[in-house]
Amino acid sequence: MSSPFDQMLIESDVEQLEQADLSLLETLDHVLNRGLVIAGEITISVADIDLIFVGLNILVSSVETANEVVRNRK
């Protein structure tokens, strides 16, 4: 499944994109779409004792967000 940034690449004329644009898109693709995720608030209870608790924080990036970031650069 391609990311929003992949979609931006394929919708652009690759030959016309500046190296800086490509670098920024690649950076966004990595930092926004990948990496360790503390994904969800989990409480596992056994006999009413909470054994594991993990904080919730999920970031959703969108094509609009990606577009906005690149537009702001220009």
Partner: protein, 244 residues
């Protein structure tokens, strides 16, 4: 006060710097070293409960902090926007200690290289059905659907072949890979390769030679990156504990 988390590493001699100047984090915040279990985490204080805005400066600041560690060791990067309380972060690391250690073992001494292969042709090679003009609207609709399906199958097959060809070319230098085959008209293959640091030059040379063999394709190659694509431990955690 919450913490913004950049990455986790085995051991760090100290805070990373670029040209002797300390690396600044999101919104210019000071980056601190937090030790949990056997790990070192790079964090900065973050005022607010929600994730920071996705801006160019914030994204680049996150990337710069993680990349600054790469000179010393291979970290596991957190995804942009990870904001947690310190006790939550400690619980997360403690609960996943073994999975994190295993993941660090996998990426030790390696970096990530990214390759995207884009079809050079503007038009997908979709079969044209000449008889379409002679048919009614229903038959034309069905023929068009058939044409789309055939085109999609052909693109998928082409993408598989290109992915196999890429693996054949650079596989010697790749320790682990994540490949996604796209069925869009242009993007054929998006691959992330985990490559030992000392093999990166040879990997690049091999890729340069391979590109010359396929002038009909566009290659977007970037790296070395911290192993963003190879850092997710959720699968291992789910397998081990039966939860996600």
């Amino acid at each position: 006060m919450k913490l913004y988390v950049y990455c986790l590493a085995e051991k760090l001699g100290g805070l990373p710097s670029i040209h002797a100047a300390p690396v600044l984090g999101i919104s210019g915040a000071q980056v601190d070293l937090l030790k949990v279990e056997d790990f070192a985490l790079l964090v900065s204080e973050f005022d607010g409960d929600s994730a920071p805005s996705v801006t160019r400066d914030n994204a680049l600041a996150h990337a710069a902090v993680v990349a600054s560690v790469l000179n010393e060791t291979t970290p596991l990067p957190f995804r942009f926007g990870t904001v947690v309380a310190e006790d939550q972060l400690r619980s997360y690391v403690t609960a996943r200690r073994e999975a994190l250690k295993a993941k660090l073992d996998q990426v030790r001494g390696c970096v990530e290289m990214s390759v995207k292969i884009i079809s050079g042709s503007d038009q997908a090679d979709v079969p044209q059905l000449n008889e379409m003009d002679e048919q009614g609207p229903g038959a034309r609709f069905l023929n068009e659907k058939r044409r789309q399906i055939l085109g999609s199958e052909r693109r998928s097959e082409d993408a598989k072949q290109v992915a196999a060809w890429l693996k054949e070319q650079v596989g010697t230098y790749v320790q682990q890979e994540e490949v996604s085959l796209s069925q869009t008209e242009k993007l054929m293959v998006a691959a992330a390769h985990l490559v030992a640091r000392e093999q990166v030059a040879k990997y690049r040379d091999q890729l340069t030679m391979a590109r010359k063999m396929r002038p009909e394709l566009h290659f977007l190659v970037s790296g070395p990156w911290p192993p963003y694509t190879f850092s997710n431990i959720e699968l291992e955690f789910k397998t081990r504990f039966g939860v996600s």
